[in-house]
Point group: C2
Chain length 140, copies 2
DNA sequence: CATAAGGGTTCCAGTCACTGGAAGGTCAAG
DNA sequence: CTTGACCTTCCAGTGACTGGAACCCTTATG
């Protein structure tokens, strides 16, 4: 029931991506929709499919360049799955690194927040820590 | 033993911040170092102290605007610790949200990576998932 | 037929927190 | 006097969009 060709608004609705983002993806060469006589972009089912692919890859945190690579591999029937796995594993490692960084921040900051009275008095272990550079955690 | 005034290279070394970053912090009004006759920035101990404060706050992931607020509170002896705590708690909530997002990505992606043979064959559950949108995890 | 609404188009600027680089001034040592 | 290591300013780029202006196309209505 889908028409053979769709406008940007339609693929935006179907893919869940904003129209602005879709134009941007064309700008950087991730997709190449056709053009109608009036200059409007004309998307095929295959374009919509690519956009959905991109949306899911982005949702998993892959960079645009990774997405470009993954899309190429997706379209290449002679790819080796090892290539895909390598990209995914590197990204996974980055995610793990970020999680570790954030958890370290969380650890420190939650201690400080817990130690702060949060009342009308000026004494504040959070500022004390930022000002002195050392956690007073186990200093009596 | 520290001189009364320091050059940007010296405070960079002592604070651990790149000179470029320190100039940027002056640009956006976080610090206001003096100037010598030759036009060089001339940093007091108090400037160095602020830079160290900023470096630690940034290391905890606070945005520049949060840092500006925290620095103002730090300098204000009549602050209420509740104000500091609120900023820190909001940031903590953001950190928690980011961790949750990253962990969700990690969950999905690690399953996919594990399911991918990573050999010379083209079959790849990672691409299959990105292309179809559903995890085949529990579909037999 | 004019017009208004609701699409679409392009292009430019802004986000965030830097970072790199060019072009040039200053200073101490050899 | 030159070399080299500093310092200065200013401009451009990063990633991945996002907002807005100014304009075109199509359809429906008064």
């Amino acid at each position: 029931m889908s028409p053979a060709h769709m406008t940007i608004g339609e693929v935006a609705g179907r893919s869940g991506l904003p129209a602005k983002t879709i134009r941007y993806y064309e700008d950087i060469g991730l997709i190449r929709p056709l053009r109608g006589e009036n200059g409007y972009r004309s998307f095929r089912e295959s374009d919509l499919h690519k956009l959905a692919f991109l949306g899911r890859a982005r949702a998993l945190g892959f960079s645009i360049e990774d997405c470009r690579t993954l899309l190429e591999l997706y379209e290449d029937n002679a790819r080796e799955s090892a290539q895909v796995k390598q990209v995914a594993q590197q990204h996974l490692a980055q995610i793990e690194e970020k999680i570790a960084q954030l958890q370290a921040m969380h650890e420190t900051l939650s201690h400080l927040v817990h130690a702060c009275a949060g009342d009308s008095r000026p004494d504040c272990p959070i500022l004390a820590d930022l000002g002195s550079g050392g956690s007073d955690c186990h200093t009596s």
